[in-house]
């Protein structure tokens, strides 16, 4: 695991965080529930909590889907390529590429759409950035930078857990045995491994 330069974290006074969705996206409850699940994976292992709010401007974490140049100097590039990005604490900005073919639920590994991207997998990764983690060289880790299409990878690996707990401590109710090291399901035919 790694951190951003300077190891930024959410301050002690802000450990119960709120998140909201850009109202202009008009996301359905089904889509929003994917992010709820993704946040839960991080709160399970840390003392942090995440609560959805309707107040977009007042939220600690602001989530939105955008195309191309969306004003933060990090334009998206259309289908595949970069999928999303998120800023280090305490920025809270979480942007996803609206051009992707996002699969909200179901077994993405069986998709006939070769460019299908599992939304929760990307959400769990980006939340790691929002909390202060950088990229990891451990392929099983959520914080590994790449994810092939038609792949689901949502469970934190021990590398992720060690990284986030070194920043915020452990959830008193955390059960280490629940962390999977085999967290990836993949059906990518584009790579000849």
């Amino acid at each position: 695991y790694s951190y951003f330069p300077g190891q930024p974290v959410w301050p002690e006074s802000r450990r119960d965080l709120t998140y909201a969705f850009d109202p202009s996206n008009g996301l359905t409850d089904t889509v929003k529930s994917v992010f709820t699940s993704a946040f839960a994976r991080w709160s399970e292992v840390t003392p942090l909590t995440f609560t959805q709010t309707d107040s977009y401007n007042g939220a600690d974490i602001r989530i939105g889907f955008y195309n191309g140049d969306h004003g933060d100097g990090e334009p998206f590039d259309g289908i595949l390529g970069t999928l999303a990005h998120a800023f280090s604490p305490p920025s809270g900005r979480f942007h996803l590429d609206d051009a992707e073919e996002w699969v909200v639920s179901g077994d993405v590994t069986t998709s006939s759409l070769t460019s299908a991207i599992d939304m929760e997998s990307v959400a769990v990764h980006e939340i790691g950035h929002l909390l202060g983690l950088g990229h990891s060289s451990v392929e099983e880790a959520i914080m590994y930078p790449t994810i092939p299409s038609r792949t689901k990878k949502v469970q934190l690996a021990s590398d992720d857990v060690q990284g986030i707990q070194s920043l915020y401590g452990a959830n008193p109710n955390y059960n280490p045995s629940s962390t999977s090291t085999e967290s990836t399901q993949q059906n990518d035919t584009s790579d000849a491994h």
Binding site: P5, F76, G81, S112, L113, M119, H135, P148, D191
Partner: protein, 134 residues
Amino acid sequence: RFFPNITSIPPWLQPNSTAVQGAWDSFKKFGGCHPGEKSDGLSKLKNYFHYFGYIPNSPPSSNFTDDFDDELESAIKTYQKNFNLNVTGELDEQTLNHITRPRCGNADIVNGTTSMNSGKSTSLNSKHFHSVQH
């Protein structure tokens, strides 16, 4: 596009799905390109490495050349270390397959520093283990 369920992908979309080209699929044409060579479009690959932090302190992206120079070779080696690939400094198939994968837009190396493999001490990167019998 959002697909609430994988079964909701419309049939009319599926037959064309194999033709979808990713943003970086064009990089695959650089397979076998070696240091010292020049290849049209290699500047775009340099932009890729610059974007993710592998070519630091570079001039504006429009100034990248199509030369496979030392800077690009170094970037490839660092990338290969970070992703546990064979460190060859060449655009082999394994490396190109990895480069063209979809990924997070955040850089791997920020301000020249990283805690990924390439930022760790050489001894940690070494594949050689030395043992002493006691």
